[in-house]
Amino acid sequence: MLKEHCSVVSHTCIADSVYELVLEGEMTKQMQQPGQFVHVKVSDGLDPVLRRPISIANINQEKSQFTLIYRKQGRGTSLLAEKKPGDQVDILGPLGNGFPVAEAGKGNLAVLVGGGIGVPPLYELAKQLVSKGVTVINILGFQTQGSVFYESKFAELGQTYVATVDGTHGTEGFVTSVLNNEKFHADIVYSCGPTPMLRAVEEGEFAKKVYLSLEERMGCGIGACFACVCHLKDDPEGYSYKKVCSDGPVFRAGEVAI
């Protein structure tokens, strides 16, 4: 983990309020697992105060570059959206434990299920899985046509389904509609997205191995403040816990209570 001023290589609006930010920095070397995240200070000084957790969407070791894809929503991401190529961004990372690529064997079928801003980390995951010979199917859920991004990039890596809530693009409805309709017989499912979606993926038991990437409001991002703690699934009222930032954000389905 490093704290580093990374420089902006490119910054592009790729869908309604969705930005692709390519950064260059030493910390790229430490990025191994898809699903890890970085903690971003969007401005110097104290407006806003806290860092923002953003998943690593793509890693380019040769160029020491990595990509973040984020939705502009509150003050933090709005300020981040103002960064221009050449600007420096204060980044802490890589943080957390990502998706276990090793759990999918060569020739296995992996289904990747992403919702909204949960889609980005699945891209690096798909890349790494494909490069080790895993067959990948991507199911990507968005609100509406205008918010869809990276569809063709995912399509290059495997069969890709898109669902939109309002039906303006792809299947109408949720990613679970696709999962329920298609019966993929996946060896492993990896998922990232809003909590209700993760719950549905967990309950659907679409594969024996299911890995979920969780979201929680964070303070430190490194395991020191206990902001992001969740209960274990088999001890929902007890004292045992996991920290989303440092034990996760990826957990095996059934490990923690979501």
Binding site: L46, V49, G219, C220, A224, C225, A227
Partner: protein, 313 residues
Amino acid sequence: MSMLNIDLPGLSLKNPVMPASGCFGFGKEFSNLFNLDILGAIMVKATTPEPRFGNPTPRVAETPGGMLNAIGLQNPGLKKVLSEELPWLKRFDVPIIANVAGSTEEDYVQVAKEISHAPNVHALELNISCPNVKTGGIAFGTDPEMAKSLTQKVKAVSSVPVYVKLSPNVTDIVSIAKAVEAGGADGLTMINTLLGMRLDLQTAKPILANRTGGLSGAAVKPVALRMIYEVSQQVSIPIIGMGGIQSAEDVIEFFYAGASAVAVGTQNFVDPFVCPSIIEELPALLAKLGYSHISECTGRSWKKVEQFAHHRA
């Protein structure tokens, strides 16, 4: 010769900068980032007799210039702190200040008694001011008589000096400070968080699951300084100051107000290297301001000029 060493009851500090309780865990995470030996001390997370999970999430919310937390004193409990967390910290040459919490007087007394015997615990910080725990907790910090009586009971069982951590959520912090001094406190730490809240625009509900939480960070700095200024003139025990410290300049400001050492909380989340940075920057800043030792700064805003006769040409 060091410009930064400070001696306080129980604590012989290389420098007066330490992470604040609850903002540094038990040090493990930060030990991957820098050598904890360089710290003046470490105020570890609150310990209660039994393990606590704390409050439901969300436990943090951002505010202008600060943040709210409602962690709810999550900790592994006294037994595990004694058997795992504190022994692990022994590899570092740094005094530990154990933060003692609970819901009843008995809780505090039990934790204080046992934890004060841990070999690397050099002082206790009696947390009578956590705003995020429902039973007890904050009441001790807002009533002078209760605060005094609790201090006495803890002093009676503690084998190391006791610092009492004061709550800013009171009308008259001087009366609480004097009460705990009368109860035998060896020092004060101040301030804990201000009670605050944020609401979510979409849901109209509090952002924190616990509804209210403790405000910390730069936003509270002027309140902390004012309280330290008031209290330091009325008690004769030393104060470890905290509340919004982000820089070496802030540290000096806290010393001027009356602090003899400082703790850094929230800023560790923004910049995990803030403590080492401040420690590194302090000597040059002191020299620039014309001081030869940081102790010359304590209470400088209110001490009489003669008390500083030997300073400056």
